[in-house]
């Protein structure tokens, strides 16, 4: 979508640097424009600053943003940060060490990258070749899709929040103190998202809830994609009886309404977090399996596979070597889409009270209290739902951006 939109403004492509055209000179002129000046190197100690001065605006901005975000957390939550440092709890240990490591990594990367940019005069031809590699083109296209970049930012931000939860949450998410006084308080400066029936701070619960949602989403997709790839490859490569059996299993799973199956499995097995991940993965691998199987079957038909066989190359090697680049893009896109679906499914199950069980907070189970309370005290459901929706939206936008960036159809030349 974004790529087509850009075609509408032909004038922009005439502007070098801002939008390097794929033709000659584009990538090269961008490199030359950034006159490498080694004197800028000390500025790299503030991550991103030297990049900005070198004209590498995008990279500089990203570096600066994340460094500032991490520093902001440290400054604003200084007490929690110093307390966390001496705390014996694992969560705090991870969060504090993570901040330090991440800051160090930002500085180190910034410094090394600036060093590289200023020291070697990049060979223009090599730069063009590099700028034209499919991977680079995809990254550049993705970078030009503002919506997708914003989505990626949001996702990274949410993951940072999840990791730094113990530093960010102002209250203990599970603490129940004197509920009659603090019960059902509306949003205020003390309690940004209000409190629930036990007087727990919903903001703190939401911060910790991010951990469950994000972890479940990512891990479940990992399980599903691994499962699907393995089964799809086995079915497609070996064919015959194995293929038949595996594909009939796929048919069975597809025929049962997914959420019914999830509901039953999670309910019957009284799943914990790990089991939930496995079950979500188990119910969602069918699409990937079908796709991979189809790819292998069509690869088997191709002439170059025959040719490889004819000259004695192992058939299997050629298939899998060609499978990976062909299948990577669609699998990546569908994985990003699946993460959103998984997060939604987890929230739904937890909302029904059978997914993640209290007192562990998750965005879904924060809404699983009594229906009357949910309808009366609107803030209880509003904030977790907003977080949930924006996370899923971000993953969907990411998938869209990936699809556009990785789309092999680049030019419309049918009529020319």
């Amino acid at each position: 979508m974004a790529r087509n939109a850009r075609r509408k403004r032909p004038v922009r492509s005439a502007n070098p640097g801002a939008n390097p055209p794929a033709g000659t000179g584009g990538a090269a002129s961008a490199v030359q424009a950034a006159a490498p000046d080694p004197a800028l190197r000390p500025f790299a100690l503030v991550p991103g600053l030297a990049h900005l001065m070198l004209g590498r605006r995008r990279r500089g901005f990203h570096l600066l943003f994340f460094t500032l975000f991490l520093l902001l957390v440290v400054v604003v939550r200084w007490r929690a940060f110093t307390d966390g440092f001496s705390s014996p709890a694992l969560d705090e240990w991870i969060a504090t060490r993570f901040i330090l490591t991440a800051l160090a990594a930002c500085v180190l990367f910034s410094f090394l990258d600036v060093h590289r940019l200023t020291s070697e005069q990049l060979d223009a031809a090599a730069a063009i070749a590099k700028g034209k590699s499919p991977f680079r083109v995809a990254i550049r296209r993705f970078g030009e899709n503002k919506l997708a970049v914003a989505a990626l930012y949001l996702i990274v931000l949410f993951y940072l929040v999840a990791i730094l939860a113990p530093l960010l949450a102002p209250y203990d998410p599970a603490a129940i103190e004197n509920p009659t006084e603090t019960q059902y308080l509306g949003p205020s400066l003390q309690h940004l998202f209000g409190t629930d029936e036990f007087g727990r701070d919903l903001f703190s619960r939401a911060v910790f809830g991010a951990r469950v949602s994000l972890a479940v989403g990512l891990l479940a997709v990992l399980v599903a994609v691994t499962f699907g790839t393995v089964f799809g490859s086995l079915a497609g490569y070996f064919g015959g009886v194995l293929d038949n059996v595996l594909m009939r299993i796929v048919d069975v799973i597809i025929a049962i309404p997914t959420f019914f199956l999830l509901l039953t499995l999670v309910g019957v097995f009284e799943a914990n977090l790990l089991a939930l991940v496995l079950i979500l993965g188990f119910t969602s691998w069918t699409g990937t399996a079908r796709f991979i199987r189809g790819e292998i079957l069509s690869l088997k038909e191709r002439e170059f596979i025959e040719a490889a066989r004819a000259i004695g190359l192992p058939h299997r090697l050629v298939i899998f070597r060609h499978l990976i680049p062909n299948a990577l893009a669609p699998v990546l896109v569908s994985a990003a889409l699946m993460v959103g679906g998984m997060i939604g499914a987890e929230a739904g199950l937890s909302f029904l009270g059978i997914g993640i069980r209290p007192p562990t907070p998750s965005w879904g189970n924060m809404m699983s209290g009594g229906q009357d309370a949910l309808l009366t005290y609107w803030w209880i459901a509003l904030f977790p739902g907003l977080l949930l929706s924006s996370t899923i939206l971000a993953f969907n936008l990411l998938a869209d951006g990936l699809r556009d960036a990785l789309d092999p159809k680049t030019l419309m030349r049918r009529y020319v």
Binding site: M1, N4, A5, K8, R248, I249, D251, V252, I253, I254, A255, I256, P257, T258, F259, F260, L261, L262, L263, T264, L265, G267, V268, F269, E270, G340, G344, A347, G348, F351, L352, G353, I354, M367, Q371, L374, L375, T376, W378, A381, L382, G385, L388, S389, I392, L393, N396, L397, D400
Partner: protein
Amino acid sequence: MARFFAKRILQAVPLLFGIATLTFFIIHLAPGDPMDMYLEPRMQRQMDPEVIELIRQKYGLDQPVHVQYVKWLGNLAQGDLGESFRHRRPVASLIAERVPYTLQLAILALLFDALVGIALGIFSAVKQYSLVDKGVTVGSLVIYSVPGFWLALMLVIVFSVNLGWFPTSQTRSLDYEFLSLAGKIGDRLWHLVLPVFVLGVAQAAGTARYMRNRLLEVLSEEYVVAARARGLRERTVILKHALRNAMIPILTIYGMSLPFLLGGAVLIEKVFAWPGLGLLGVEAVGGRDYPVIMATMMMGAVLVILGNLMADVTYAIVDPRISLDGKKRTA
């Protein structure tokens, strides 16, 4: 035609067999005594162990799993789904009572989806890059991303609790029995508005996106250019030549969207206390009512298979190149 249906039903048998098998083993792999399938654990504790042993024998639970499996399948083949121990009634009658509610919801949601989703998709594609198009593409992605149950909660808070326009839940008003026939229908529709909207709007968002892309693809086909070159009006070109071709794969999507629709209905039925198949399933899982759990899964699968069958039939009607046996004929 008759042969086609006979063939499809025969094809569905092994699928149903597979689903039944999967269901059986899921339940039997569940932690705990399989006796729980027939009698609630709470009751077992209050009973004489000898009586329990008798019941065990009566239901064949003392026999090895494979014997039980064959027996269960035999009952299933005869249409015997067992008895719910929560409701103390045959599961079949329970299901028969609930299915119409789910179907009302699903069919109306599909209708909403078809009308709104397709219309928006067409509009968006025809006015590509206009403000409306951008609104539809972004809006549909947002709607698509919002969990239905949460949207339902928010709509109930706004429209039912605060504005009082629609009922918060249930299928009928308290005075339902005293209404005339028209009044009864109106009352039911009034209760259906929010659940149907929530269920349909997410579907419509997906349809609009798909329809837009599909129509844009078709609009660049040569026969569309050819139709324009023949001087046909733009309206004819789009609504007659492009649309019919763009619609064909949408039908398959409808067939395949049924599992999602039924699955999505679970949460919506829960929010609106709508007594359909989904709510039955949720209650059964909550109450460990195993026979009902198994039956809802089977029933969901049957509905999905029927939905796919219907999609295939419509596909064959709409696309002359497709014969009912699903083969694509080309010259």
